[in-house]
Symmetry: C2
Subunit: 338 residues, 2 copies
DNA sequence: TTGAAAGCGCTAACAA
DNA sequence: TTGTTAGCGCTTTCAA
């Protein structure tokens, strides 16, 4: 049923090598012969078998993108960026996502196992021991998004989380005059949360503002849990020159809505700021002051780096650092509007 | 460098067929031999070459998901559903997206060309002539999400758009007592928009409410353009027993925010309802009355159908219809709360 | 400029 | 239960 290179050769009255040449190195073939072959290809609707091809060439022209989760705009922007870049470079993009890090690990094991990808871009929200071990001698070329794997040589695209979080904290403390900043993060082990919390602590210390562990909460990046937490605590939090720094916009939005439901005015009674600058930040009332993370670009750069490495597996590892940007809106009680 | 089945055979002192059997039909091999082979496999870190395998089996165990766009939660839920189902069925999922229908078409041509996918789930936001022609004799098994391609035999998973839109319209007219309902849709050619508009017209006619083409707007499903449109028209729209039916939540949210900015109270001066029940609907103030579309399930069902067809290409085409659900919140001025 | 032929690594039919 | 062997469809020397 499927038409093979041999059928084309027969139809065009040439050998299969000639057909192959027309396909891959057209200039080595006489123009008239080439035309004949091309006509045969068209007439027979011939399509090279990708497996046979891969078997010879040992490459699939496919690269993967492994994400910890697919929820929300944050990831879809990464995907869009990666997708665009991959198509531009002539690669197909295979996207997979996992529920948690165990799942991510088994996914990566599967990829290594089947090794049908020329390379893979990996985003790990937390690097577990097993994951680290796996990646240290991973058989497939890879780049890491927004993270680093100790002991493994790899390219990476990171967001300078600290820079963004410090910019936010300094804005809150210096410009808005906040005297107490609660922190609502994701899981304790999440790398982004860790970086953001570090900035929180550092800036408070620098400013000589007392702060204790009781002002720190760890949730799961979700609107609902943040809403619930805020409902329980909103009256304790509220007060002049007080603010909540949530580690993403979703949670910030949940807190804002819980405040509204409890009659606490944002930002007058309490400031609430987020992180990521997703659409949620703009739609929340009041719109959230947040930190814009170049997600689309992160996806695109990751694929660019990855394809470069696939082309030259021995090239020196590159680390690209992308800079977040403070976006000031209406939820932090300062006079600036951006 | 790469270790092949032959290396394993040598190491385990068996023939390559025995190794192959251990890999594929373990029970045909003597237990002791099997252990020896398995140990060799482990020691050598052997992984079967997927191309050689595909060359024999003519299948890749990969299925594709082609989406018109990757923007927003709507698509990410489909992806999540598809991803979960694919992994459950032992398939890898390849996701691609295109900017417009020309782009979708070239993507599909590429898939057919390279034919490395066992099957593909396709979501077309508008079926152009070229697309239809392409799909009528598409070489790769496929199922269509939320649409239908005339002349082509295919499985499909559709959302009963009409049912959802009619439920919404009847609610607006019968329960909320709306006397005039503006319609803000996506592109004129978009299949969802067409179905929703049809319901709009039908219910108004049934209720004996006059309605003209001037009450119908076609935008692009985006927050910003809806915001702009609403800013220009909000005072004309506002009035007792009037309502805007936007074809998605994003646009509804833009209209609500524009109204707030213009001092028009929602829902008192104007009702605004959306479609899809994305997170935006809940976060908008007031929260949007909308229609929940089972996106996750649509993705999962599509992959289920697809894999069934891959397993048995001759099986009878199935059409699954998924039912949307009216979600009543605070933006439509009725006494019901859900 | 073209063709013949040797694999790439695997599965499966057939033989032992 | 195991081994031998013939391809799967392609690219790529090497020879003509």
């Amino acid at each position: 049923m499927p038409v093979s290179i041999e059928d084309v050769a027969r139809k065009a009255n040439v050998s299969i090598s000639t057909v192959s040449r027309v396909l891959n190195r057209r200039n080595l073939v006489n123009a008239r012969t080439r035309q004949r072959v091309e006509r045969a290809i068209k007439q027979l609707h011939y399509r090279p078998n990708i497996f046979a091809r891969g078997l010879m060439l040992q490459k699939s022209e496919m690269v993967g993108l492994v994400l910890p989760d697919l929820h929300g705009e944050f990831y879809s922007e990464i995907i869009r960026g990666a997708n665009q870049e991959a198509r531009e470079l002539g690669y197909n993009l295979v996207i997979s996502s996992a529920k948690d890090s165990d799942d991510t690990q088994s996914l990566l094991e599967g990829i290594q196992q089947r090794s049908f990808l020329d390379g893979v871009a990996i985003m790990v929200s937390e690097v577990t021991g097993g994951m680290q071990e796996l990646l240290v001698d991973f058989a497939v070329p890879f780049v890491v998004l927004d993270g680093k794997v100790d002991g493994a040589m790899h390219d990476s695209v990171v967001i300078d989380q600290g820079e963004g979080a410090r910019a936010m904290m300094r804005h809150l403390v210096n410009t808005c005059g906040m005297q107490r900043v609660f922190f609502v993060g994701g899981l304790r082990t999440n790398v982004d949360t860790i970086a953001r919390l570090e900035a929180h602590q550092q800036v408070l210390s620098e400013a000589g503002i007392e702060h204790g562990p009781l002002d720190i909460y760890h949730l799961d990046y979700e609107y609902d849990t943040a809403y619930a937490l805020a409902t329980d605590n909103i009256h304790d939090w509220a007060g002049p020159n007080r603010c909540v720094f949530a580690a993403n916009d979703e949670m910030a939005s949940g807190i804002v809505d819980a405040a509204a439901a409890a009659g606490v005015a944002i930002p007058d009674d309490l400031g609430v700021v987020g992180f990521d600058d997703t659409r949620v930040a703009r739609i929340t009332r009041p719109p959230l002051t947040t930190v814009r993370v170049p997600m689309f670009r992160m996806g695109a750069e990751a694929i660019r780096l990855l394809c470069a490495r696939v082309a030259d597996p021995m090239c020196h590892p590159t680390a690209i650092s992308l800079h977040p940007q403070l976006v000031i809106r209406k939820s932090c009680k300062c006079e600036l509007d951006a």
